[in-house]
Amino acid sequence: MKNNFIKYTAAFLMASFTLMSCNNKDNDLEVTAMVDFSGTFVMKDQMGRPAVNTVFVSSGKKDEFNATIPSEQNAKFQSMFEANLKGLSPAFANSGDKNALGQDAAAFTGLLATDVLNVTLDGKTTFYDGTNVLTGRALADDVITVELLLIFGGEDFKENPTLSDDNVDGNDKDFLTSFPYLASPW
């Protein structure tokens, strides 16, 4: 009698497991309904373009920048970005001085202070490849050298050559041509 109870219980449990796993395959929503996703999640870190917080935000303001949504960043931080840019690269303080994109300090920091990545849906996606400017960010893009060139390289990318390239041009492992694109871990 006791044995039968165990048998039937086991059979019942197995049947429900089988039913559940069928369900799993049929419908993602059924699965997620069984998992707890409740609650409120509050912004702690954020990023659009590489190195923006690190380079342009003063040390006492970095947490505040991370807690500010992009649509409010320009009003709060553009003037700080401009002051820090002129501190880093004093040529920008001269009236009329521009980077190779034709931007003076106000225009350049006006772009950067809203920390979002612009991505085209129409073709090549690259941070900068000599032709396309800010159409995305691919894994192999040498974004730091591009940023250094825009900060230190002047109107023709030729000023301050020892500051405008870190001379690390690629990753330490090859990227994959197919999904998931990133190289396997060390």
Partner: protein, 219 residues
């Protein structure tokens, strides 16, 4: 005992803080060393040029020996934000959150509210999940019925930079130029990455989108 541990932790965080790093790695005091520290963000056209790929990584500078025990935090939501009309406010989000060895995805979907606080869009018509690839295993990927590909797990840090020299020049003032042959500060280190590839038709037809990633912590 407890107090000294906390103190030691503070000292370690302070030391790492001094090295202030990189693309977004340990970019600010309150995220540094936490499971919500975004290291990097990429968005690019996929191998199939009808698709867009979003990559976000957290928990940077993992040594190979530390990678096996590193894990995504179930209290940290990684949210890809997509602005399709140029006002820098998200019109769509793709949310990724781990539960019990799997990474769950919701969206692209219009968020229930924009801004600093999020709830998870479990009612999204587009959802998916993928087993988190354990360290040392071949990448586990999944594709959902909407044609969205998903991956989550440890990867080589794709970022490269002579960050040590940059710090000496800009922060410490001990050097005045880069090396003629730079040294990649991130060589040999790993991150925890989330990669999602979506048909472009899910986010728009043409033109430019603005996108950014947020790490959001459960309250």
């Amino acid at each position: 005992m407890k107090k000294s541990k906390i103190l030691l932790g503070t000292v370690i965080v302070a030391i790492i803080g001094l090295i202030t790093i990189a693309a977004d790695h340990i970019d600010a005091p309150s995220t540094t060393g936490t499971s919500a520290d975004i290291t990097d963000f990429y968005a690019f056209q996929g191998e199939d040029t009808d698709n867009l790929v979003f990559v976000a990584s957290v928990q940077g500078l993992l040594s190979p020996t530390a990678t096996g025990t590193a894990s995504f935090d179930e209290n940290v939501l990684v949210e890809f934000n997509i602005d399709t009309n140029g006002d820098n406010v998200e019109d769509l989000v793709i949310q990724a959150i781990p539960r019990d060895g799997k990474m769950y995805f919701f969206g692209p979907v219009g968020p229930s509210s924009t801004g600093k606080n999020s709830s998870i869009s479990t009612m999204s018509s587009i959802t998916g999940e993928v087993a988190i690839t354990p360290y040392g295993n071949t990448a586990i990927t999944a594709t959902n019925s909407a044609g969205m590909k998903m991956f989550a797990g440890p990867r080589d840090d794709p970022f490269f930079m002579d960050f040590a020299r940059y710090t000496d020049i800009v922060v410490n003032g001990t050097e005045t130029s880069f090396r003629t042959e730079g040294q990649d500060t991130f060589a040999g280190s790993n991150v925890l990455s989330i990669v999602v590839e979506v048909p472009k038709s899910m986010v728009g037809t043409s033109g430019t989108i603005n996108t950014w990633v947020e790490a959001k912590v459960k309250q």
